[in-house]
Symmetry: C2
């Protein structure tokens, strides 16, 4: 049985309240002599405070929950989640909060979330890319547990920290357009994912805005993987009306496209400009480093966590915040060239 403050009190023939105040350094003053003796006995008996008991009274766990998106298998292998977690951990550290990661349900199951988040072990939660309808959102908010979202779409009534997908695509397209490209193809991600959808929409908006002929078949959705990108690109590059610029919705697919181009003898960037999105390490490691878009996911998650703690401490609901993207120009893009 572990040592408790009762043991210390008995040992010194003083009351538990005195021990408690001595151990916590207040709020009630304790004479230095008494305090020192308490501290010493605590060490001798190897006393370790039971934070569970404490949090029952204080109603603070000094821990924040993290609810990842998607399934429950191998969640930590997602690069996006890694960055988000890293940011959350950075801020949690600074704020002296521990992290409880809920991997037993996804950020789309409001009922499960409500149960777990309200069970007293966390004071609030960061929801990563949740997909909740208004009803579920309401249910969650009804628990009174402060929550913030790290997500590419806004969730009504919850402070949302998001990156600007549309801006990223806009930057890529403007850059390519400025280089002289007039013939584009968009290799999109799975359209049931918000990021993928928002990037496609921004692509289409740009194409329309510069008055390019509205052509069907100037995009195709794939699955955000290298293999997926390679497959689509192989078909595309064999076409006679091959585009001069291939705008991919993430770096993995761009790497796949690069591989397809290499197999088919299409020179990048001379005969084909290729762009990615997300600035993952893989896009920088390949033979032709990929022009891509940087999203400050770590910073977003850090900011979300700081905002969460302010809410936990009684502050008002934080405002949404949208973070700008940055175009990262590397070697996979150039002006279009008629003959090479």
């Amino acid at each position: 049985m572990a040592t408790t403050i009762k043991d210390i009190a008995r040992e010194l023939n003083i009351s538990v309240s005195t021990v408690s105040y001595a151990l916590n350094g207040g709020p009630r003053p304790v004479p230095p002599t008494v305090r020192d003796r308490v501290l010493q006995v605590a060490r001798e008996l190897n006393y370790r405070p039971n934070r569970v008991a404490r949090s029952m009274i204080t109603r603070r766990a000094n821990a924040i929950g993290v609810v990842p998106m998607g399934g429950t298998h191998n969640v930590f292998l997602s690069p996006y989640l890694q960055q988000a977690l890293s940011g959350i951990a950075n801020s949690a550290n600074d704020l002296h909060q521990d992290l409880v990661i809920f991997t037993r349900f996804s950020a789309s199951d409001a009922e499960a979330m409500a149960c777990y988040l309200a069970d007293g072990r966390v004071d609030g939660a960061v929801l990563i890319a949740p997909r909740l309808d208004d009803d579920s959102l309401g249910k969650l908010r009804a628990t009174g547990i402060p929550c913030v979202c790290v997500s590419s779409v806004h969730h009504e009534g919850m402070p949302t920290f998001t990156t600007d997908n549309a801006m990223g695509i806009q930057q890529v397209m403007s850059y390519l357009y400025g280089l002289g490209h007039r013939s584009f193809f968009h290799l999109a991600g799975p359209l049931d994912m918000d990021d993928a959808r928002l990037r496609l929409e921004a692509y289409q908006r740009f194409v329309r805005s510069v008055g390019l002929p509205d052509q069907a078949g100037d995009f195709e959705a794939s699955d955000f993987t290298m293999i997926g990108g390679e497959t689509v690109a192989r078909d595309l590059l064999a076409r006679s009306d091959r585009p001069t610029a291939l705008v991919c919705a993430n770096d993995e697919m761009a790497v796949g496209a690069l591989r397809a181009a290499s197999e088919l003898g299409v020179a990048v960037p001379e005969q084909l400009s290729v762009t990615g999105f997300d600035m993952t390490p893989i896009g920088a490691a390949v033979a032709t480093p990929i022009t891509t878009v940087y999203q400050p996911v770590v910073e977003i998650a850090e900011a979300a966590t700081v905002a969460l703690l302010a809410m936990i401490e009684g502050g008002p609901v934080a405002p949404d915040k949208v973070f700008p993207t940055e175009l990262v120009v590397r070697s996979s893009t150039s002006r279009p060239q008629e003959d090479v």
Copy 2:
């Protein structure tokens, strides 16, 4: 104020124990009619059990702690940790345990660990690559909190789940030797890291075992990064007595070496065979996919977590387990060729 079982009891004019048993489905039998009414009122009042209160009595948190290695900044960006966490999460899911990630101290600070792990919020912990002397280990064990290690070195008195670094290098070296290579260079990692040290030692052991002349300067330590690998490789490849096989302690450095080779016009694998370690995505994505060594980190972490739970549930201290590595042959290796 949140609903408690007391509220439900009052509402139905029954005792709290009946409510408790009804809610938990036992162990005391509760007539179905009563149980249904309890459940219904619970739902109406939006009752959510307080697990903090429960765990005070049951002395079980149904959560396991994870203590990452190294510093406290951007820990989640380590690929090794990602895989380890993924495995831990997989098993924790299956075993209905939540995860508490302690990022506020590293797995090398025994005193901090003892305090946090013994504070009642977790039932046990998985320590990732801890570096503890016997004294610290003893202190940790004295808390009585079950712990297991995911580590490349054994920690006395704690079940350790480890991969076989030496075996991996042995596999790489045997393969290269079998191809006909007799001139090797080892690009090592930081030698204060266990993995790096063990890989270097295995390399040296192999070189000696096949009776190759014991030459100084047949290895150099770098920092596990692409840049580090590139830098060392550039110097090395300019030497007149250039080796035919470059054995890198991880994939990142191998990718850097590939880049240096490309810059210097050294053909891989024709003029130089290059190998990596860890089988990270980047090693597969490059123009010349790298021959490497696979370590089943996810599986190791899964097994460690399963063993931890058995210990938590009163089982004996689990035995150590060493997992075999696998050689993954790709395009960066071939027989040495005199002239190309």
